[in-house]
C-alpha cells in the first residue's frame, strides 16, 4: 500500500476519533454502521474533507466508500496526495 494512502488513512481516522466521538479502537476497516455514523455525520465529514484536501466529495460517495480505508482510496483517485 502506498505511503499516501496510509498517511491519509491516519489523518482521516485521527479526525474522526477526535471530532465524532467514535471508539478509540476504530480502525480504517471499521464500517460506518459499526460506529453509528448516520447521514448527517457523512455530510459533516464531507465538509471537512472538502476543506482540508480541496477536493469535491459527496456524502453519497463516502457512504459507498464504506470505511476510512475506502475514503483514503477515494481521495487518492481524486488526485489528493495528503494534507
Amino acid at each position: 500500500m502506498s505511503m499516501t494512502i496510509l498517511l491519509l488513512e491516519r489523518q482521516i481516522l485521527d479526525h474522526i476519533v477526535e471530532k465524532f466521538a467514535v471508539p478509540d479502537d476504530t480502525t480504517p476497516g471499521t464500517g460506518w454502521e459499526d460506529f453509528g455514523f448516520d447521514s448527517l455525520a457523512l455530510v459533516e465529514l464531507s465538509l471537512v474533507l472538502e476543506k482540508k484536501y480541496a477536493v469535491q466529495v459527496d456524502d453519497v460517495e463516502l457512504k459507498e466508500a464504506s470505511n476510512v480505508a475506502g475514503i483514503a482510496a477515494l481521495l487518492v483517485s481524486k488526485g489528493v496526495s495528503s494534507a
Binding site: 448516520d38 447521514s39 448527517l40 455525520a41 455530510v43 464531507s46 465538509l47 472538502e50 469535491q56 459527496d58
Partner: protein, 403 residues
C-alpha cells in the same frame, strides 16, 4: 394592502413592487428585523393601526414583523408562522404539508442560486463559498427528489442532480431555477415570499429559517397522521392505524435529511445572528408538542419540565386525559379489537415510529452540539445538556407494559 415602510426599497426584479408586504420584507432582509430604523418601525405601527382588520395577511405579517417592538417575540413570530401556515389549515387547506415543505426548500435553493450569481443583494453578509453552495444545493435537490419519483417540473432526476453538482455554471443555475417547484397560487406564493423576516443580514439565516419552517410543515403532517392513527385504533381499523404510524415514521426519517442541509450552515454566522434570536426556540413549537402528545401523555417529569412549560396550552390539554395513540391502544387491547397478527403489525409500527423519533433527536442533538458548543439555548435551557437529557424520553413509554 397598506403602504408600509416608506423608505423600503424595491429589490429583486421578480418581486411585485406594488405589494408592500414584499417591499417591506426586502427592506427587512437588507437591514435585519433587530435593526429596523425607529422611523420605519413607527410607520409600520401607524400602518397597522390604520389598516387593522382589512387584510388578515397584512395583520398577521405586521404582528410578526413588530414582535420585538410589541414584546411578543417568539419562535412563532420569528418564523412568521401566522403568515405561512394558514395555507395548511381551514376546512379546505390550499396545500398538503408535503407540498409546502417542497416549496420552502425550493425557495431556499433559489435564494442560494440567485445570490451565487449576483442576482440579488439580500442578506448579504457572510455569503457562502461556491463550494458550500454546491454542497447545499446538492443536498437540497436530493431532499426534493427523495419526496417524489419524478423530478420537480418533470425534469429527469439524474439530470437535475447533475445540474445541482455544478451550480456555479450560470446555465445550470438557470435550468435549476426553472425546474424547482413553486406555487402558482398568488396567495400562497405571497405568504411564502413574505415569511423570511431575519433578525440580522447574514446569508445563512435564510437557510436556518427555511429549514425550521420546513420542519414545522413536517410536524403538521405528523399531527394529521397521528390523528388518523388514533381514529383507526378507536374504530377497530388496525390497518388504517398501522399505515398512519408507518407513514409517520417514514416522514420523520425523510425529514432527518433536512438536518444534513442545515449542517452546511456556518457555525460562525449562526453564533452571530442567534444573539438576536434569544427568546425564540423550537422548544416553543406547538406542532411538535401536539405530535408528541398525540403519541401519548408524557411522563410527569417531562410534562412539568421546560419542554411543556413553554407550550402552556398543550400542558393543560395533556392533563385533561386527551385522546392519544397510547390511550386508544390500551382501550383496543382491553376490548380485544384486533387479531394477534394485527397486534404484531401495530407493535412493529409503534416501535418503528419510536425508533425514527429517537434517530431524529440524536441527529438534532449532534448538530446542535456542533453549532452551539457550550452556549445555552435560545429557549433558556442549558443547551446541549438539556438535549442530551431528553434523548432518554420515549413517546410510547406507557405502551410497553400492555404487550
Amino acid at each position: 394592502m397598506p403602504e408600509t415602510a416608506s423608505d423600503a426599497k424595491t429589490g429583486g426584479a421578480d418581486l411585485d413592487a406594488g405589494f408592500s408586504c414584499l417591499r417591506t420584507t426586502e427592506h427587512v432582509q437588507r437591514v435585519g428585523k433587530h435593526f429596523l430604523d425607529a422611523g420605519v418601525v413607527s410607520d409600520l405601527v401607524a400602518a397597522r393601526a390604520k389598516w387593522a382588520g382589512t387584510d388578515k395577511l397584512a395583520d398577521a405579517y405586521l404582528d410578526c414583523l413588530l414582535d420585538k417592538y410589541d414584546g411578543t417575540y417568539s419562535y412563532t413570530t420569528y418564523l412568521a408562522l401566522p403568515v405561512l401556515m394558514p395555507v395548511l389549515s381551514g376546512p379546505r387547506p390550499r396545500l398538503r404539508a408535503g407540498d409546502l415543505t417542497a416549496y420552502l426548500m425550493a425557495d431556499l435553493l433559489r435564494f442560494e442560486l440567485r445570490a451565487l450569481h449576483g442576482l440579488h443583494d439580500l442578506m448579504p453578509d457572510g455569503r457562502p463559498s461556491p463550494a458550500m453552495v454546491r454542497k447545499r444545493v446538492t443536498l437540497g435537490v436530493r431532499f426534493l427528489l427523495s419526496r417524489s419519483s419524478a423530478g420537480p417540473g418533470g425534469t429527469d432526476q439524474a439530470d437535475l442532480m447533475a445540474l445541482a453538482r455544478a451550480p456555479q455554471n450560470l446555465e445550470n443555475a438557470r435550468q435549476l431555477l426553472a425546474a424547482l417547484p413553486r406555487s402558482h397560487d398568488p396567495d400562497t406564493a405571497m405568504r411564502i415570499s413574505a415569511s423570511v423576516l431575519p433578525v440580522d443580514v447574514l446569508h445563512d439565516e435564510y437557510l436556518f429559517i427555511r429549514v425550521l419552517q420546513s420542519y414545522e410543515t413536517v410536524f403538521t403532517a405528523l399531527v394529521g397522521l397521528l390523528q388518523t392513527a388514533v381514529r383507526g385504533l378507536m374504530t377497530g381499523r388496525a390497518e388504517t392505524a398501522r399505515e398512519a404510524l408507518t407513514e409517520a415514521a417514514d416522514c420523520i426519517l425523510l425529514a432527518g435529511r433536512l438536518f444534513s442541509v442545515l449542517a452546511t450552515m456556518s457555525a460562525e454566522a449562526f453564533r452571530r445572528f442567534r444573539t438576536f434570536t434569544e427568546g425564540a426556540s423550537a422548544i416553543q413549537s406547538e406542532h411538535y408538542k401536539r405530535f408528541e402528545l398525540l403519541c401519548g401523555v408524557p411522563r410527569p417529569e417531562r410534562l412539568g419540565s421546560a419542554a411543556f412549560d413553554n407550550v402552556p396550552s398543550l400542558q393543560t390539554e395533556a392533563r385533561e386525559n386527551p385522546d392519544t395513540v397510547t390511550h386508544a391502544y390500551h382501550r383496543a387491547r382491553a376490548d380485544k379489537l384486533f387479531t394477534t397478527a394485527e397486534w404484531e403489525d401495530l407493535d412493529n409500527a409503534v416501535d418503528g415510529l419510536e425508533k425514527a423519533h429517537q434517530q431524529w433527536k440524536t441527529t438534532h442533538f449532534r448538530l446542535a452540539s456542533r453549532m452551539l458548543g457550550g452556549s445555552p439555548g435560545t429557549g433558556y435551557t442549558e443547551g446541549v445538556p438539556y438535549l442530551e437529557h431528553v434523548l432518554d424520553n420515549r413517546l410510547f413509554w406507557a405502551v410497553r407494559g400492555d404487550r
